[in-house]
Amino acid sequence: MPGYFEIQNLSVGFRTFEGERRVLDIERLVIGRGETYGLVGESGAGKTVLALTILGLLPKPAAVVHSGSIWFDGQDLLQKGEKELYARYRGKRLAMIFQDPMSTLNPVFTVGQQIARVVEKQQGLRGAAVAKRSLELLEMVKLPDAQSTLKKYPHELSGGQRQRVIIAIALSCGAEFLIADEPTRNLDVTIQAGILKLIGDLQKDLGISVLFIANNVGLVNVFCKNAGILYHGKLVEDGPSELVIRAAKHPYTQTLISAIPRDKSEKLKFASTVIKPEAQRGCPYYSRCNLAESICFDRMPMLETSSSGQKVACFMAEKQ
């Protein structure tokens, strides 16, 4: 029996002019009800593709889902047709916050109109009830002066305000599973903290599960119970964030963590990487890995529980 949210053997590819390119190959990823899971990876690792796959919003026909299943509350989302995803999941039970608050709101409609559209569609509200609900939502995300914000266009709001509006829209219809795709990526540091706190509070208040996508290990450590590291579309390390961050086993995770400056006096360390040829069949990290041996070139490591408890996909993990 799969968990509340569980990805199994998911494989997604994109058709390009040079043939197909695999962008996602996830053996297993589990998120419990009411839990926050942090997914970390560099740009191009496949984080956003994963988010769009869950919602069934991959660009077609460029993207192809080859195999796997995405279990959500006992149902396999990948087996659902567009109609059912539209009618029963998107916006209703699954919601997503996108990376860039600057481009996620439609520039030619007021904030109020955009909230109203979703509330009308998803909750069937009309007239004064829509206005009341919109106001409630903006107050829920702690936007000051909600009444006048409703009449504003997105370009009249700051980045942080926009992200709050976006969160309000995403959660307007009682979604229980939120995908937050680098929600603070394009915001100032001070604003970031506010948005993160908001997501954290809402998660607790509403009891929702959150797939928190980030390219910042530090954020995940404070924010998430469990964490996974995505590299080239593969989950290379997965487990309680405490373990993944504090006792990283995978050389890639270690490199990521060593890149965080700890205090001023410390000189920034950049792991020196020996560039080797790409391993076609082997470990995706082979070409950049300092520990790699010939087995890494030939065979693909699978996620296995390590001595300290988290799962790691690396032949060298226990040999360090």
Binding site: L55, Y86, G91, F98, D100, V108, K121, H155, I169
Partner: protein, 336 residues
């Protein structure tokens, strides 16, 4: 918004002044003697001298220009050299027929062109998209007079479905009283309940209407398609889908409203183009409109008439662009 419109209005007036200046001086430098033309083909030198004074041609150029502007302001475009009637009056008579044509082509551009572009963008690279693109490229690249002639050949000569030209059948013109309320035959006949005249007018407008409407429809469809395709890749479209909004709302409201800028600009430009195109279309279909009027004015070297139509066209361009600007200002970011 008020300031925005006011500024555009001011700009329009400047453009019109420029056009007035240009037409005035062009008409003065063309190697022809307006007074001689006015006085008639066998005029004596005395008659020509009298005509010169009558037309004010003896006064300094700036005085003439001042008088010209003053007349323009009062809607007086001068007298036709051929008919000696006020040009304003003649334009008024031929205008409704042209407006009927332009209106039809604009309605087609908006209500056929835009949906065609939207469907094409929605079904990108599918059969309907290929067909619509083929059609767009076809009608945009085929010359109007060729389309007109082919339509006449097929639908009049071969199939005999539609009349060859004119705005009404001769028998109707002779036997029936043509109602005159606004000058627009279709409108007038409809409001006065003359359905026979209305149907006859409708029957006559089909071929010239298609001829002149093809280009705007093709252009608008193409522009809408490419604008939409770009917009459909925007984050806010994916986001809207993730909120569970229907594809209908996403496409026809969220995406289409964002494409209003390029689309309405093209519609406005294509109206301008249509006005120019009436020159050919009206000649081919002997349509009693402005195009036909200017065609005969050009052939008859009727300078005041040519100037009048030029000023009139410039005026319509300015008005159309103003309307387009106002529509574009529906996009809140444009209002500065």
């Amino acid at each position: 918004m008020k300031k925005f419109i006011l500024r555009r209005l001011l700009l329009g007036i400047i453009v019109l002044l420029g056009v007035a200046l240009l037409t005035f001086f062009l008409a003065r430098v063309v190697p022809s003697d307006p007074a001689a033309k006015w006085a008639g083909p066998r005029a004596t030198p005395e008659q020509i001298a009298r005509a010169t004074i009558e037309l004010g041609l003896d006064k300094p150029l700036y005085v003439q220009f001042g008088k010209y502007l003053l007349d323009l302001l009062q809607g007086n475009l001068g007298y036709s050299l051929r008919t000696r009637r006020p040009i304003t009056l003649e334009l008024q008579e031929s205008l409704p027929a042209t407006i009927e044509l332009v209106l039809i082509s604009t309605i087609a551009a908006v209500f056929v062109g835009i949906p065609l572009g939207v469907i094409s963008a929605k079904r990108k690279d599918q059969l309907i998209d290929h067909l619509s693109r083929l059609f767009s490229i076809g009608v945009v690249s085929l010359p109007t007079f060729w389309i007109g002639l082919i339509l006449q050949l097929v639908f009049f000569r071969v199939l005999g479905l539609f009349p060859m030209g004119g705005q009404l059948s001769t028998e109707i013109k002779i036997t029936m009283d043509i109602p005159k309320v606004t000058g627009f035959i279709m409108f007038d006949s409809l409001v006065t309940g003359n359905f026979r005249i209305f149907l006859d007018a409708l029957w006559h407008i089909v071929l010239p209407g298609i001829t002149i409407g093809m280009y705007p429809v093709g252009l608008v469809a193409r522009m809408t398609r490419s604008a939409l395709l770009e917009i459909l890749n925007e984050d806010y479209i994916t986001a809207a889908r993730s909120y569970g909004l229907s594809e209908r709302i996403v496409l026809w409201s969220y995406a289409l409203k964002n494409s209003i800028g390029p689309t309405s600009t093209v519609v406005a430009l294509s109206i301008g183009y249509t006005l120019v195109n009436t020159f050919l279309t009206e000649s081919i279909f002997t349509w009693p409109g402005i195009g036909n009027y200017i065609a005969s004015a050009v052939i008859g070297l009727d300078y005041p008439a040519i100037m009048g139509v030029t000023i009139f066209s410039a005026f319509s361009y300015v008005v159309l662009n103003l309307i387009a600007d106002i529509i574009i200002a529906l996009d809140p970011r444009v209002r500065v």
